[in-house]
Amino acid sequence: MFDDLRDLYQEVILDHGRKPRNFRRLEDADRHARGDNPMCGDRMELWVKLEADGRIADAAFQGKGCAISMASASLMTETVRGKTPAEAHALGDTFRALAMTGTCPDCGAELADDMERLQVLGGVSEYPSRVKCATLAWHTLNNALDDKQEAASSE
């Protein structure tokens, strides 16, 4: 009945959705932000620990939401470790383009490895109402890195 949905719900996404990585509170976090899509009910809290040179030492989250939003947050926390805030912002922009269009022609060599990991979420581009699920984590990361107090939303 749902075979053609394997493009969207690849095994990696189902796995990260069921068992999200870095699903914990970071007690000694330097940055923190909330993400909230109130219309659909996706919610998350994100913590970021920074190195002395400003790079992301660790990122972790907790929340409730659909498989896409949880998997996206899980994959994001794995991907942004070691990045400078500027690099993380750039990666987020590229990821949003991927989620909206399904392709990433401007990815460039320096983002290639990271985008390969995130490519599994490219299937959401076929489902306009689900793009916001995939991008909520990245909006939340932007707010954390920019030290914004208000909750991020992608609705």
Partner: protein
Amino acid sequence: MDGAVVATGFDVARVRQDFPILSQTVRGKTLVFLDSGASAQKPRAVIDTMVRTMETAYANVHRGAYNLSEKATAAYEAARAAVARFLNAADEREIVFTSSSTAAINLVAHSYGRGVLKAGDAVLISEMEHHANLVPWQMLRDAHGVELRVARVTDAGELDMADVEAKLEDGRVKLVAVTHMSNVLGTVTPAERLATLAHAHGAKLLLDGSQAAVHRRVDMQAIGCDFYVFTGHKLYGPTGIGVLWGRMELLERMPPFLGGGDMIAEVSLERFLPASVPAKFEAGTPPIIEAIGLHAAIDYVESIGMTAIEAHERTLVDRATTKLSAIEGLTLMGRAQDRGGVFAFALDVAHAHDLATLLDRTGIAVRSGRHCAEPLHARFNVESTCRASFGLYTTVEEIDYLAEALVKAREFFS
């Protein structure tokens, strides 16, 4: 086909032919439209009437002394008469056209709320209100100093009548504003009992009939409420048209809501004298084509008969209750004794949005999220649900297909 359906002479296959949209496919699958509670599909009769009006009988109403305007005015006023009959209103003038149920409730909250209620009076709503019957009262509370009380909903999803009574006890509640049928739980509230109870404690009763008016006969004189609202687009009519019914003596006491053309009897640069009811509440050019479309929709459902529709939907509700209850890991929100064809549910292994995406692939359209009832989801401690809601064109086979798809969806996510 089911015995009960045959007994009423209701032929769902024939009814479905009246709705052009139902024959289309979605992603290669036959459309199974289970989101009528959000907005219902339109029969050919409504579509044709609206097109014919625009092609042959359209002009602004109440303004021109020429043939087309007279024709349009007559059709617009005939729509008012049709709504009055549909609701069994005592007087046609008690029908006020608005743009939606939301607009009708806001009209009462502004006009009755600010013009008749006083600071210190209380308004009683319930936990299962659509945001349209919650936020206008919060706005009134903040602007006008009335108290807002909220009656509880029981674990079964019924209005807690003991709590309603307790909250009316001190006599400060002057208006009870509750749904006649929950858009999430399907619960039908005891309208007549509420009217008796409210009146015994010196309060008026407003019923939000957005869902109820579609599924059963609603009779203003039998219910005994004071205000009733419903919307055209859920009753197989167009968007942009809603109805406020109010008792004549209340409408007469209420100040106008919106100011503008058509709502005045006299106007000078210094002052205005409002028109009489209902024109007083219909400022500006009204939704003319939409009112005429609503008239066609009422004629359509009445040609089938509300009793037959009710009986058909009873079969659907029974089938859905049995089928959905049997699915492992599925939680139904609300198990009211008296309920209509609205079922909100959650699956243990899948979030509502994931589930809706899967169902869409099978051609099934359901709503997912919180259905404009965020406090109710908090009350039942549920993040979000999928909601299947039925219309007169829904079939038993569609419900079986939904149940089959839900079982497969659970396998997919497990």
